[in-house]
Amino acid sequence: MNALYSARARKDKIIRVLCYGAAAFGLTWLALILFTLFSKGFAGLSLDVFTQMTPPPGSKTGGLANAIMGSVMMTVIGVGIGTPIGLFAGTYLAEYGRHEKLSFYVRFINDILLSAPSIVIGLFVYGAVVVPMGGFSGFAGSIALAVIVIPVVVRTTEDMLLLVPNQLREAASALGLPRSLVIRRIAYKAARTGLITGILLATARVAGETAPLLFTALSNQFWNANLMKTMANLPVTINNFVQSPYEYWRQLAWTGALLITLAVLVLNIIARLLGAERKPK
């Protein structure tokens, strides 16, 4: 009996040590990444990064101004295009077609698009936008990002609308409000923070996307606000600079990576705070 007990206790102890080990192992890697990113990224952070254009080969001065602007523009436009479509599609799933066969398929396909390889989405937009339009452009990049935004927004919109209690809808209907107003004035209002959270998360998701921009927006050395031309952006600039032989370029790549990470972290944290604020009610 005693032998059995001590064997069980020993096994439990071994597993416990293994789990602690796994946690230490995993968290060490992740801490190392953040440490490298912050130490190397902050080392290169200066005002120049925000005011100068990306440097030509060999140059020792320059910043990321055009890439930052391009990234912000494409992200905003991508989210701007993707959000309404995602919002409406999520509304349909949660409000009109909750139990329809169509919704089942849309939900399933949406979940797959949610984790589809982003490089495939780049290829799709290359074939569907870049080739017909005759060249790489910031617009094509925005479309690629929009395609990534849509499934994220659909998912969160549906989830958030499902949380709205049905009594609210029934009360509004009983007052004689038509269905569309019940949704827009009652359900949207009740789920507002949740919907905003979803949009923020989608923005965070696309802010660092690189693969779909590689052959849609391409990149550019200069200040360019014309959406119909190739457009500099942070992820592709980082991609190009990492593989370059110039020390200064590599330094800029780290700084750019830090900026993206900070942006993504801030968006995530705001989304989280909004989510937490909603819960106690």
């Binding site: 439990d12 597993i15 602690y20 080990g21 796994a22 946690a23 995993g26 968290l27 992740l30 990444i33 490298t36 990113l37 309404p84 409406f88 599609a89 509304t91 349909y92 009109y96 077609g97 169509l102 919704s103 398929y105 849309v106 396909i109 797959i112 698009l113 984790s115 589809a116 390889p117 490089i119 989405i121 290829l123 799709f124 074939g127 569907a128 849509i150 038509p178 269905r179 569309s180 107003l181 949704i183 965070a204 998701r205 802010a207 660092g208 690189t210 693969a211 590689l214 052959f215 992820p235 980082i238 990492v242 790549a253 990576a257 993206i260 990470t261 972290l265 995530n268 944290i269 989280r272």
Partner: protein, 329 residues
């Protein structure tokens, strides 16, 4: 809430007009949402059609041979020889190694977080892991390129190669020379990248176990490990497997974490310390300079990748859906 002014008047004509306005708005809104929902299906259709159209020249030229040809010679004249075996091999090998590392560690961390962890650090660690799951993959890729690959290649690989030098089979898998650009380095970065993802999903799934079940098992005198093994894992099996497959789908399609350090070599070598390539890395590094049948072959690679991930993700979703159904009952 603002009520349209017309509704306040009681004259029947205005009332009829307001109601018909509502009716129109109602229909318009309904169709707008329905069309958006259909747009999601159209995106999938568009992806498939556009990839097949782009890949068509390559499909016509190479046919099924594309899948079994090892050679990748886009510059060969008069006609290039292009085969997908190298990238397919690299994709599967890197994903498998990454999963072998990340799954046990990820589940271990999840068990740590739900069962062993002192409550004080449970929340901060959990939040940190979720935030890390959101960091763009290019960050992991460049860290692998600048920090991890040099370290592994200079300090770890030589030891491993020397250790297994005379062991059959293993001396092929771990054959030298050490290389900065290698399948193994890419797999390791991939593993680190999907680790937070697997951890976050497993933790969420483990938390769905009703406390009553666990407490009953503890009440019978089970140790923590016995509770995990006999209650938590059986209860959440479908969810954990679904989560693992979602992570696999991610690993298969990941581009930026591997492109820098895989070496973009289409050779198939038995050693995991040798350079290789994956489907996504091949597309990312060659697409910009490709044209004609070379470009078409890259799009065909993309189509293969999409089909592969589609199957994995669909299986994952079906499993997760089954778990939800079980909970609903």
């Amino acid at each position: 809430m603002t009520v349209p002014a017309s509704i306040n008047r009681t004259r029947p004509l205005d009332r009829a007009r307001a109601l018909s306005g509502f009716k129109f708005g109602d229909r318009a809104f309904y169709w707008m949402t329905r069309i958006s929902a259909l747009a999601v299906l159209c995106i999938l259709g568009g992806i498939i059609i556009s990839l097949i159209m782009g890949a068509w020249p390559a499909i016509k030229t190479f046919g099924l041979d594309f899948l079994v040809t090892r050679r990748w010679a886009p510059q060969l004249s008069p006609s290039p020889v292009l085969g997908a075996l190298g990238p397919i091999y690299g994709t599967i090998v890197t994903s498998l190694i990454a999963m072998l590392i990340a799954v046990p560690v990820g589940i271990g961390i999840a068990i740590f977080l739900t069962e062993f962890c002192p409550p004080v650090i449970r929340r901060p660690v959990g939040v940190a892991i979720e935030l890390l799951a959101g960091i763009p993959s290019i960050i992991y890729g460049m860290w692998g390129f600048f920090v991890l690959a040099p370290f592994m290649t200079d300090h770890v690989m030589p030891t491993v190669i020397a250790t297994f030098q005379h062991v059959p089979v293993l001396n092929v898998i771990f054959a030298g020379p050490p290389s900065y650009l290698s399948l193994f380095n890419a797999s390791l970065v991939l593993a680190i990248m999907i680790l937070p993802f697997i951890t976050a999903i497993s933790r969420d799934v483990f938390q769905t176990v009703p406390p009553m079940l666990k407490e009953s098992a503890y009440g019978l005198g089970c140790t923590t490990w016995e509770v995990v093994k006999n209650v938590v894992i059986p209860f959440t099996r479908a969810g954990v497997i679904g989560g693992i497959m979602l992570a696999l789908g991610r690993a298969l399609g990941e581009t930026m974490a591997v492109t820098f350090i895989i070496g973009n070599s289409f050779q198939i070598s038995g050693s995991i310390f040798a350079p290789g390539t994956t489907i996504s890395a091949a597309i990312a590094s060659e697409f910009a300079e490709a044209d004609g049948v070379h470009m078409s072959a890259l799009i065909l690679l993309g189509l293969l990748l999409f089909v592969l991930t589609f199957i994995v993700l669909a299986a994952a979703r079906l499993m997760l859906a089954r778990l939800q159904e079980k909970q609903g009952k």
